[in-house]
């Protein structure tokens, strides 16, 4: 009997910054990181896909807008339609929203300032590939670093998001209280991350891949990446 290692693909777009950290986080947590390229039509048979943070195509139009039409997004869409786990972090979240794989959009922070700070997130559901090892109400500490992280949605979308329980993480204080003060960017309802109606596509602004090594900061990313690996493995053996 061999012990399977989940293979997690990380897509590099022109301007991605956190692809290396995402690969490293996957490997640190016991998975195999697989490099993917935005211009390819090839997911190299991975069990999960990560769209990392940073920038993409200069974000010249809107953040993630041009990347939302990148060649590999066709393959990501097909992978997601088959139920494969997809995680978008920061710019990756913006790309998934622009591609229509997640509801809502991300606009300039309400403060107009770039924020770089460790935040606390309250887990809202364990029904996603990145929170399966967490329980609702649990709090994880993870950094954010973005200028365009204010989550917005149309009134109808927001209604659906809240009614269907599509919020995955909310900005909160250390005790899990969702307060205005804990909201770093003005996101509506303190939303830090959402999932698709089917649940297998998740996007969040904070960076779990920067929070797995206790030597460099909080470790709230560990259960998130561990969940992703477990989900990837479950899909691979299914």
């Amino acid at each position: 009997m061999t012990i399977a290692t989940p293979r997690v693909g990380v897509i590099t777009f022109p301007g991605s910054l956190d692809d290396r950290d995402a690969l490293r986080a996957v490997e640190t947590m016991g998975g195999e990181g697989v490099e993917l390229w935005h211009a390819d039509h090839d997911l190299r048979g991975v069990d999960a896909v990560v769209l990392p943070g940073g920038f993409s195509y200069g974000d010249y139009l809107r953040c993630g807008a041009i990347a939302g039409h990148a060649p590999i997004l066709d393959d990501v869409r097909a992978f997601a339609d088959r139920g494969g786990p997809v995680l978008g972090i920061c710019n990756g979240f913006q790309i998934l929203c622009e591609a229509g794989l997640l509801p809502g959009a991300l606009i300039r922070n309400a403060s107009l300032r770039f924020v770089c700070v460790d935040v606390f997130l309250r887990v809202e559901t364990s029904q996603t590939p990145v929170t399966s090892e967490l329980v609702p109400g649990e709090v994880v500490e993870i950094p954010v670093k973005h200028g365009e992280g204010q989550y917005v949605a149309t009134t109808e979308q927001l209604q659906e998001i809240e009614d269907e329980g599509l919020v995955v993480f909310r900005y909160a204080d250390a005790r899990g209280e969702v307060t205005e003060r804990a909201n770093p960017n003005g996101s509506i309802d303190n939303i830090a991350g959402v999932r698709s109606p089917a649940g297998n596509v998740v996007g969040l602004m904070p960076h779990p891949e920067h929070a797995v090594d206790p030597d460099v900061g909080p470790t709230g990313g560990q259960p998130v990446i561990a969940s992703l690996l477990a989900s990837a493995l479950a899909g691979a053996s299914a």
């Binding site: 039409h69 606009i107 300039r108 107009l112 204010q150 917005v152």
Partner: protein
């Protein structure tokens, strides 16, 4: 024929516009304390080669819908066209 279009992309009403707010907040410094409701949008000019203006306009509408605007946060308008006279 080559048709010139202008597309105006604006934030949906009711959506917070931090950029507009920043512009508004800086206006008193240059002597305008009577300006309110500033909202910043995007203007895109483009030329389209097509057999009819209607065909060109339909393509511009699609370009605006699929790429130039995000329907969650933005509205767009395709403005009056003038057939372009000379080259670039």
């Amino acid at each position: 024929m080559r048709c010139r279009f202008e597309v105006l992309v604006t934030l949906k009403p009711g959506l917070a516009d931090p950029q507009g707010k920043a512009v508004e907040a800086s206006l008193p410094a240059i002597g305008f304390s009577n300006v309110t409701d500033v909202r910043v949008g995007r203007h895109v000019r483009l030329d389209v080669e097509a057999s009819t203006e209607a065909e060109a306009r339909a393509q511009v509408e699609e370009v605006a819908r699929r790429l130039l605007s995000n329907p969650v946060i933005e509205d767009f308008r395709v403005l009056e066209t003038t057939e372009t006279d000379t080259g670039p």
